[in-house]
Symmetry: C4
Subunit: 217 residues, 4 copies
């Protein structure tokens, strides 16, 4: 029995494959940032001007690095509670990875046209779809834990974080239609707002519950 738990190879392989896709997508983001090539002996100002023109690319890189990292962290935490492989994880995990694999393209589209309506809406639209798939998968992965009194609080916390990501992404999508053009991508700030709010709710529910063992996050 303990052997089953420590060597559930199909689950390990699923997690491993997912990690590889997360890692590749997060590292490919950099490919969308152009490398400026100036004539030899160009003055410092020209270099700084070129770098200034790349600011939207760096903004996109930072945003998407944070977004993919947030999805990886929730995947990491949800599957730390998953003690067994279930066939139901497979399609949702693959849909999620498909959206993660699209992130470098979505980021490139946003960076090349920062604050334009269509790219911003496409970016946050893709983010919202990804967050919904991520929440669906996290609910499946934490199903057994949620029914276990010792792990229920931890499972609830993770689920709330996933719902927070989805609520934040949806808010940012709506905001991209409502905000003035020069701060259109700022809707992203809804994500930390929602995830913290919901995580705090889950934690306070937990604090008021009787003492329980904290799972290894």
């Amino acid at each position: 029995m303990s052997k089953d738990q420590s060597t559930d190879h199909p689950l390990e392989r699923l997690v491993f494959f997912s990690d590889a896709v997360f890692a590749i997508a997060i590292t490919l983001l950099v490919i969308e940032i152009e490398v400026p090539d100036l004539p030899k002996g160009a003055p410092v100002e020209e270099f700084l001007h070129e770098l200034g023109g790349l600011i939207p690319s760096f903004v996109g890189f930072l945003m998407s690095f944070a977004v993919i990292a947030a999805f990886w962290v929730t995947h990491h935490q949800a599957f730390a509670l998953a003690s067994r492989f279930s066939l139901r994880m497979l399609p949702w995990n693959l849909f999620l990875l498909g959206m993660i694999a699209l992130m470098p393209w979505v980021t490139g589209f946003l960076s090349s046209n920062l604050n334009q309506l269509v790219p911003t809406a496409v970016y946050f639209g893709a983010f919202t779809v990804t967050a919904l798939l991520n929440a669906r998968l996290a609910f499946i992965a934490t199903e057994i834990a949620a029914a276990d009194p010792d792990q229920a609080a931890a499972a609830r916390l993770i689920r709330m974080r996933c719902i927070g990501l989805a609520a934040g992404a949806a808010t940012a999508l709506a905001a991209s239609f409502l905000l003035p053009e020069n701060i259109r991508f700022m809707g992203l700030l809804a994500v930390p707002f929602w995830t913290r709010l919901l995580a705090r709710g889950a934690r306070s529910a937990r604090a008021s519950a009787p003492a329980e063992e904290r799972p290894a996050e």
Copy 2:
């Protein structure tokens, strides 16, 4: 003995290396999708028009994501039944990975020229070769399981899925010569048709067999 089973490092490394190649190939697909770069302040219609022009690229991305994912799933399931490394796995696994590594190119060729005869035939031709290699490898990996009364049904199911993939790919290849140009790539639909048909056959044979333990898929 139980130690052998839980720490067959050569097998683990083969599986790991394969997973990495699958993950990289599936994530590199996105590189073939061009990022539209419009002048600042371009109207919404122009953005939508540009996105419309990318539909073939997205179709190719989706198709190949599904195809690589299907190969990964059968690899995952076949090797979950493989309890030991065998040198015979090595060449077939490498041939399979070579074809998987080619998928981003084949996909780019299809997307740039969607529904043209040559790219469609090349795509489904490569798919057919990959599916045949995949089936050969899955038969080797499930050899021991197929001879074990407790696992024979599971092995048969996986093998039937692999044969279904190959039959579907071959049908799509034939269809790319026969279908009218504007729906030429639709031969892909033969894949779910064949895999479900054959999997159903394997499952009904299993249902009529005496009760047996279901393997951890």
Copy 3:
């Protein structure tokens, strides 16, 4: 208890994800090296001339390969001493990986404009930030080991190496403003100087301490 130590899945996954990002970043460096394409039958001299023009790209490749490898080695060594996952590792590890993922771009910028002030300063500036994040993370990862008399010396050695990397990077950054243009990137040599100096200090402190078990590095 021994089971906990050998299968701390969250820690393993963190290390695994990090390794994947290190591996991808180090392999993507090659993408920044242009492939010369000469007309068929071009004379040998023209090929050699083209290769000569790529020397800055190869210098950049070598430098960044060594830099990423050095970070990977310290990560490897610090986490070999980390017996447990801690939530505090997570943000620092992600910040570090974000900087590692930027390395191919920073390298491309340096190679395209070798010895120019801005690209050299950007390169060593990014290197310094990465080294500081790496040191912060290594200190967290070796915290338990540093408090354990059997492992304290090993932990100190690793920490000194990380500080050496940061001191070397900062020296190279300062040197890029001070050195004459044609040897501007040579500040890199401060890195082996500092790391060896500090590692020697840590080792001599260790040699004078009472005999202790050497950890498996």
Copy 4:
């Protein structure tokens, strides 16, 4: 003791990191193959003509896929015999990975100028250096096994394969200066010749030795 052997984390991480670099390099090869983009409705002959022009790229892809796979296989086999991490593995492994990471560039250079002297010599020169590093590393990794009567024969076989790879690469390098231009890259055939010859020698030495347990390759 058995625990030590099954969970030598530093060794596992070295192997894992290496596998990731091998996998990424082998999958990046495809990026060097151009995707032909023909006008809609171009005749079949034009597609075939374009594909014909890509034959050198496919030759390069196949060659380098085989070469990287051969290095991965010897790495796999040598480290299957390595029971413990040794610090001496680290630099040689990193040098080897650096050369593996260069393979996509070397391949692109060869493919763009197939059979030209300089690219062919550069290709086989890089191959020779890689094979020498690989042999050095394999000798270190199989050191303990070579001193163990039960594993000595297996260690010798792997070492002979590595020497065969180096001899084959060096022969191909020499041949690139001697062969007529239109079959210049054919020196590659020296590789299977040498590896088989030396492996046969190792195997016949083994067959004449007293019976011994075959290691899990």
